[in-house]
């Protein structure tokens, strides 16, 4: 089966208020999918539910044909770049150590990271142009630099599926483009990538599929099919006049 993720009739609620309502879709292996919608549309909720961090009220999610609990060796399969608020930035830790965390699953319980892991982490930092900052405390970086460190962590983890929640929040256009190119490369290596993004201009060029959310799934499919004026009006309200030629 080429569908690596299958979501069926998913409903998620915080207390009584639904954040996602009857959402169904599937994602092809080796594709790059964008999750878009307004603030509060349920994008992060969808990602967290797929990652088993939130329990749905209803519905089923399978990843590689399994429910999340039953996936073995998760660290080889799923990497995640959290939305910025989820991390304790004041934690006493430097960039290299953050990236090293991507190796923890591979290292296993009760063991320490070795030289090989350190080299891999340093290499990943280099790839994202952050090697100079390897011993900086994580909060002593700009927003875009922090994001790059987390991308390096996901990279060093070497997982099949990549979940990124707003990796471009507060990131300059150049870094965003560089990251999208890097993700494109990862895709070519057969990885499946999901990205929550607010940058509708990048959809056509980089993404195979778009999920347009507003609690319900308004549309899903190729960027062209999804980003129609009608759909956009429904998702973003009448105020939205997107110029998508860019």
């Amino acid at each position: 089966m080429t569908h690596i993720i299958n979501v069926q009739n998913l409903t998620v609620a915080y207390r009584e208020v639904p954040a996602l309502w009857d959402v169904s879709f599937s994602i092809q292996k080796g594709s790059m999918t964008a999750i878009v919608g307004t603030n509060g549309a349920g994008k992060s909720t969808l990602m967290k539910t797929m990652l088993n961090l939130i329990q749905p009220v209803r519905g089923e999610i399978t990843i590689m044909g399994e429910s999340y609990d039953r996936i073995k060796e998760k660290y080889k399969k799923i990497a995640y770049v959290p939305q910025r608020e989820a991390v304790d930035w004041n934690f006493p830790i430097n960039c290299l150590d953050v990236v090293l965390m991507g190796r923890y699953g591979h290292i296993g319980l009760l063991k320490r990271p070795g030289k090989k892991d350190r080299d891999l982490a340093m290499e990943a930092l280099k790839r994202f142009g952050m090697e100079y900052y390897h011993d900086r405390q994580i909060d002593e970086l700009s927003g875009g630099q922090k994001q790059r460190v987390f991308l390096a962590r996901a990279y060093v983890q070497d997982a099949d599926l990549l979940f990124l929640d707003e990796p471009f929040g507060g990131v300059d256009a150049k870094t965003e483009q560089m990251t999208l190119e890097l993700l494109q490369e990862e895709k070519k290596r057969g990885r499946t990538i999901l990205v929550v993004t607010h940058d509708l201009h990048s959809l056509k060029k980089y993404f195979d599929m778009v999920l347009l959310l507003k609690t319900k799934l308004i549309a899903s499919g190729q960027p062209d099919e999804v980003m129609t004026p009608e759909n956009l009006t429904e998702a973003y309200g009448g105020m939205m006049h997107m110029d998508l030629r860019g």
């Binding site: 088993n52 995640y80 959290p82 320490r112 700009s142 630099q145």
Partner: protein, 376 residues
């Protein structure tokens, strides 16, 4: 024997060793409380153990440490379960649940205590000691217990060193990559509860919560490294334990608990003022000493802006500008940059940027946040 060298009695040696051990344990564990922002949780366990202690006393009417410890453990655990049930089953958030639990348990404890004090019992003294901490009765046998708990704590923390680090830093990620987060959490809760219960002997019910916060708060000011933070916090714990106990042993009427806490919080306070990494004072001095470096960065940016304005085909090596164009520049800054080889004086007023300088300036703009230390 070794303590004789220092001119202290055997009893005091035991007592000092005991409080050093308790200081070490609370010092290490306080890092987890502070980083996990669970300090309120420690408060809950500590204060909630009070009714357990008093009830154990009333039931058995003896001042055995073991009875007290079991009572403390039971009611501490009950409190945790209470907190979890409230925050899961009701709309109340965890911090509210903790507040409610803490007040109820401690309130009941105090009420019971008042009742006990009205009873004509000789054994009361033992109970009071337990609440404010006492080291006078510490025996060699108690040391073995303390040592065993320390070994357990250190075993847990060292074995799962990287796991706890990750869980505290980015819990969601830890869960996603399949770490047994709940089990590790449970293990740490056990370590902390057991430590509190044995630590109460020396520091007392009321004060031990402070020992689970102050050392780590102090340690955090001196370092940005997790490992060093734990080491420093442990040292602060040991230091406070030993000094507090010495004070308490030499001056009657001062129980060890409050004395230890006074030392720990003083060290934390001093660290906040003078800490190398985050200390308020040091930060202030640092900011005022480094403003020149920051100026360097601005200069670089200005350079680059004018680079963009110029025709690039002319080559970038001889990018000229004069001091008058840039009000922020002064000779000192340019001299500094020239020393680094980033630019050159042409005349008294005019300078030119070198190719190396242009590269560096570009880096600054791309990175946005500058590596000011390159220009030292």
């Amino acid at each position: 024997m070794i303590w004789e060298i220092f001119g202290i009695s055997y009893t005091l040696a035991i007592v000092l060793l005991g409080s050093a051990i308790v200081g070490l344990m609370t010092g290490v564990l306080s890092v987890f409380f502070v980083l996990e922002k669970k300090s309120v949780m420690g408060d809950t366990i500590a204060h909630s153990s009070l009714p357990g202690v008093v009830v154990a006393f009333l039931l058995f009417l003896e001042k055995s440490q073991l009875t007290f410890a079991i009572g403390a453990l039971i009611s501490g655990f009950l409190a945790i379960i209470f907190v979890q049930t409230i925050s899961r089953r009701t709309v109340l958030k965890e911090d509210v649940a903790i507040g409610v639990t803490l007040s109820i348990f401690f309130g009941v404890g105090v009420a019971l205590l008042t009742y006990v004090q009205s009873l004509p019992l000789a054994a009361q003294a033992g109970l009071i000691n337990y609440i404010f901490g006492n080291v006078a009765f510490l025996l060699k046998r108690d040391l073995y217990l303390l040592a065993a708990v320390t070994v357990f704590d250190l075993f847990v923390i060292i074995s799962f060193w990287k796991e706890y680090k990750l869980i505290m830093f980015d819990r969601a990620y830890a869960e996603i990559i399949g770490l047994p987060v709940d089990k590790l959490d449970f293990l740490l809760t056990i370590a902390i509860s057991v430590t509190i219960v044995v630590g109460i002997q020396i520091i007392g019910v009321v004060m031990i919560a402070g020992m689970l916060i102050a050392p780590a708060v102090g340690a955090r000011q001196w370092t940005n490294s997790y490992r060093r933070m734990i080491l420093i916090s442990a040292s602060i714990g040991v230091m406070s334990g030993v000094l507090g106990t010495l004070i308490s042993a030499n001056i009657t009427d001062i129980p060890p608990g409050p004395a230890i806490i006074v030392f720990a919080t003083s060290i934390a306070f001093i660290s906040i003022l003078f800490g190398y990494r985050h200390g308020t004072l040091v930060n202030w001095v640092h900011t005022h000493l480094t403003h020149r470096k920051i100026d360097h960065r601005k200069v670089m940016m200005e350079f680059l802006k004018s680079t963009n304005a110029l025709d690039k085909s002319e080559g970038l090596t001889r990018l000229e500008f004069s001091l008058r164009e840039y009000p922020r520049l002064n000779k000192e800054i340019i001299n500094n940059l020239a020393r680094c080889g980033y630019c050159k004086w042409l005349t008294d007023e005019k300078c030119a940027m070198t190719l190396r300088g242009v590269e560096i300036a570009k880096d600054f703009t791309v990175e946005n946040s500058g590596s000011a230390e390159m220009v030292e």
